[in-house]
């Protein structure tokens, strides 16, 4: 077997050193009745690289590839062009096959990257500090709610109707067990984002208001009044960003008063990958850092006074605090954080701004073209690279009909809100720099056809 270096001669030499007659002897603590008497059932014997490639290749070939068709899906995962050097660099064995940097003297590469990543995330979100990543945006979101509970010692979180329904679902699952109460609402197919409801719901029991920006329908709204209302009642504002490219063009949540900003970093450097692995982003005010979940890289010096980096403030974490830790998280999304950081370094502020401008200009163009189709209405007043249209027909069958024409035309709101009839005609369309003029023509033609 190509991955196992020991030869039969090695094995018998080693058994002799050990003083065991056979490998079975080494398993003698395992009760006889628990040991399998032969190879596991069903599973075939070992296979060559070629055979495995053939099997997996056949499965891969059954999927419709985003990059090979006109593609307009978003809702929490976005297709952007990732420069070739990103994937090359993350595959360097020293990054790819390293463990968590527990021995900092021989992990400065990972640690410096994490320090740079934390700084990039903090600046992008307009916050003072950021951690070394979470699993994804949805888990970062409920960790933020827990953090707000610990800071405010209150348990009512108000979730905006524009928060991604999967994120809401994750929060609901956790709230059942943590004792938080969630004030929930579902969106309407309107340009208004429901900020008034949020503000009106804030009371003395509120730990946090959670607002997605841009929201699930692609709408953007000024967070400042929400932050002010929350702060007036002693609550925190948690902003959730699922499309960080937007922040190249629009104000950061931090500068509008958000106390904790979390997000999904997938759209920078990390591909679609059918939902994972992605990278959760988590930033906050410096004064709250000791309530933060997850790992933190920090700067220090070595015995010769040279600058270096270590994992720090670990007294918040499970391996030290055990049941009193701020979170149970251990492994995070290190390699995806690296990909995010490399892509953002390649872009720089100028590149990110240009990328965001292209996304927005393309989206404005597509929104105009789709809204001109008879019966199709644009829901949003404001948006970044994603918007919602109300079709004259149900959106879900329309999406399937567009697939028949080779177009992945958007996400139907029925997929996300299956029992909300009022949303059934809503289609969320994301437009990024990868969309070509021909793609737009194809979407327009397909949508015209299915709306007839």
């Amino acid at each position: 077997m190509r991955y196992l270096p020991l030869s039969e001669a090695d094995r018998s030499d080693m058994l002799e050193v050990i003083g065991a007659a056979s490998v079975d002897d080494l398993f003698r603590d395992v009760p006889e009745e628990a040991r399998l008497d032969g190879p596991i059932h069903d599973l075939p014997m070992h296979a060559s690289e070629m055979a495995v490639e053939r099997q997996l290749g056949a499965m891969a070939a059954k999927n419709m590839v985003a990059g090979q068709v006109p593609f307009f899906l978003g809702c929490g995962a976005y297709k952007h062009h990732v420069p070739a050097s990103v994937d090359h660099l993350i595959q360097r064995g020293e990054f790819l096959t390293a463990y968590t940097p527990y021995q900092p003297e021989i992990a400065q590469g990972t640690l410096q990257v994490l320090f740079e990543f934390q700084t990039q995330v903090a600046r992008l979100f307009g916050c003072e500090v950021a951690n070394a990543s979470m699993y994804d945006g949805s888990t970062a979101c409920w960790e933020a709610i827990g953090m707000a509970r610990r800071i405010t010692r209150k348990t009512k979180a108000i979730l905006s109707s524009g928060l991604h329904p999967h994120y809401v679902a994750v929060c609901r699952t956790m709230a059942k067990f943590t004792g938080d109460t969630l004030d929930l609402a579902e969106p309407e197919l309107t340009a208004a984002t429901g900020a008034e409801r949020l503000i009106a719901s804030i009371d003395g029991e509120t730990s946090a208001v959670v607002v997605q920006y841009p929201d699930i329908l692609g709408r953007i709204t000024d967070l400042t009044p929400i932050a002010e209302a929350a702060h007036a009642k002693g609550a925190l504002l948690i902003a959730v960003v699922t499309e960080p490219v937007a922040l190249g063009l629009i104000k950061s949540p931090g500068e509008m008063g958000a106390d904790i900003v979390v997000g999904e970093g997938q759209s920078i450097g990390v591909g679609l990958q059918f939902g994972g692995p992605y990278v959760g982003l988590f930033a906050c005010r410096e004064k709250h850092v000791r309530q933060m979940p997850g790992r933190l890289a920090g700067e220090t010096v070595d015995a010769e006074g040279k600058r270096g980096f270590v994992l720090t403030l670990s007294t918040r974490e499970q391996h030290i605090r055990r049941e009193k830790a701020t979170s149970n998280i251990c492994t995070n999304s290190g390699l995806c954080a690296l990909a995010f950081s490399i892509h953002l370094t390649l872009l720089g502020e100028k590149g990110l701004r240009t990328l965001a401008e292209i996304n927005h200009a393309r989206a404005v163009e597509v929104a105009g073209r789709l809204a001109a189709i008879p019966g199709v209405e644009l829901v949003n007043d404001a948006f970044f690279n994603e918007f919602t249209v109300k079709l004259p027909v149900e959106a879900r069958p329309a999406v399937h009909a567009m697939v028949e024409k080779g177009v992945l035309g958007g996400v139907s709101l029925e997929r996300l809100y299956p029992d909300r009839e009022a949303l059934a005609n809503g289609l969320v369309v994301a437009v990024t720099e990868v969309v070509s003029d021909e793609d737009i023509d194809a979407l327009e033609a397909a949508l015209k056809e299915v709306c007839k």
């Binding site: 196992l4 020991l6 599973l43 419709m64 090359h88 999967h166 700067e299 605090r321």
Partner: protein
Amino acid sequence: MSSVNQSGWKPTVPTAATSEGTTTTGNRALMLEEPLIFEIGDSETTGVDFEPSAPAPGHDRLAGLKRTNPIELPGLTEPETVRHYTRLSRQNYAIDLGLFPLGSCTMKHNPRLNEKMARLPGFADIHPLQPRETVQGALEVINQLAFWLIDLTGMHGVAMSPKAGAHGELCGLLCIRAALEARGDARQVVLVPESAHGTNPATAAFCGYRVENIPATAAGRVDLAALKARLGPDVAAVMITNPNTCGLFEPEMKAISDAVHAAGGFVYCDGANFNAIVGKVRPGDLGIDAMHINLHKTFSTPHGGGGPGSGPVVLSEALSPFGPLPYTARTQDGVIHLVEEEQAEDFARTHFGRPAQSFGRMVAFHGQMGMFTRALSYILSHGADGLAQVAEDSVLNANYVLRSLEDVLDAPFAGSGPCMHEAIFSDRGFAEGFSTIDVAKALIDEGFHPMTMYFPLVVHGAMLIEPTETESKASLDQFIVALRSIAERARAGDEALKAAPVHAPRRRLDETLAARKPVLTYQTPAPDGAEAGVGTEIGGR
């Protein structure tokens, strides 16, 4: 706009002359110092060219929310970027470079075939919300991997969405809690052995349970009598690691499970050490109700310097109905369904003849697809024979290390018999003032990653060594020679050990300073500052 760093970077020149002597740049041949991106990049540089035909920004639809303040994100051109990260990568130790015997972490070779498979566009470039008919191949990967995980563990079902081991623990405990609540049973306590990973008590507390420790015997096993004495109507679950964190199999696992079940509780198994028994022992045969599998350990998906992981949880028949959404299921017509909230009720009634009882969703989308592809590639490559050989060779390698070093290092449990996939030693016998950290840091100078230090807590100055099955005998022999010599120096009280490492990119780092005065992000130096911003932050030293 205010640039990130106009002045360019300054090499980090050692403040005191070293024994190696200094160079002007601070570099030492192949050991290259690398500044931060904030010191070499600036906001007006980019390494990305955009299509010249890209639409010009016209009338915006941003509702007056256009950004006016700079972000201060430095950019680098592509050659500078490649060099920055390549140089940084060379300051990392990695399994590609050498033995990485971190106990409980299973740092084994990461086959590159798996990387290639995960990057097939049919897996890497598909969106999680694509219509299901366009992603049947991806669902097939998830479903097939799920099938093999169930098969290898002898369990009844599997939850694929947890993102890492600790997330899997959470999933398992949420299943247990949901199952207890379904029978109106409000148990409050989770029992955890003293030797458990920190994630176990942290997870239990997170789910609202009170955590109580159970002691270990002198032989490093769970104290069955103490456990039985503590069981009662308030105990929801016992979390056991098997093989345990001392690298030992719990021979009374079945008796533990039976006792817990008899008391109405559930058995959670931390599967971090599944590598020792994969293909040889099925946890389902030991009475376990839930166990997470770290795909980034046993099934070799790369650890990436701290993640991503993937932590599917195999479940017993009693817990399977409570697993999270979404899940995949193949029906007789060959269609693979992705069962999300909307179909959960119908699907459960039609196909399982019961109402849906899932505790809900625990992540957006459906888990770590990229890791599933790699793990499936690994399982298919090894097959039934290869996986059993993995377990055997990992155990053989660990015992070889144990027996080759037990004369110079105290091996607290070696007298009771063989270990499983990892060997544990204590710092007993070292000269006064010498501890495990000195041995670990000296291993760095010898070109090895240190073992897990000071864990588990039940062994004084623990050194937990997990060589894994992908090390050759020659590699183990070299490691043994190095560790033997270091152990002898620690026993003799060789002061030079305290200075180690001296050949790494950095000497020992001041972790106390880092925690006392946290510097977690780069601070741009003041324009007139003669001193770098970071230097000012730590100037008090």
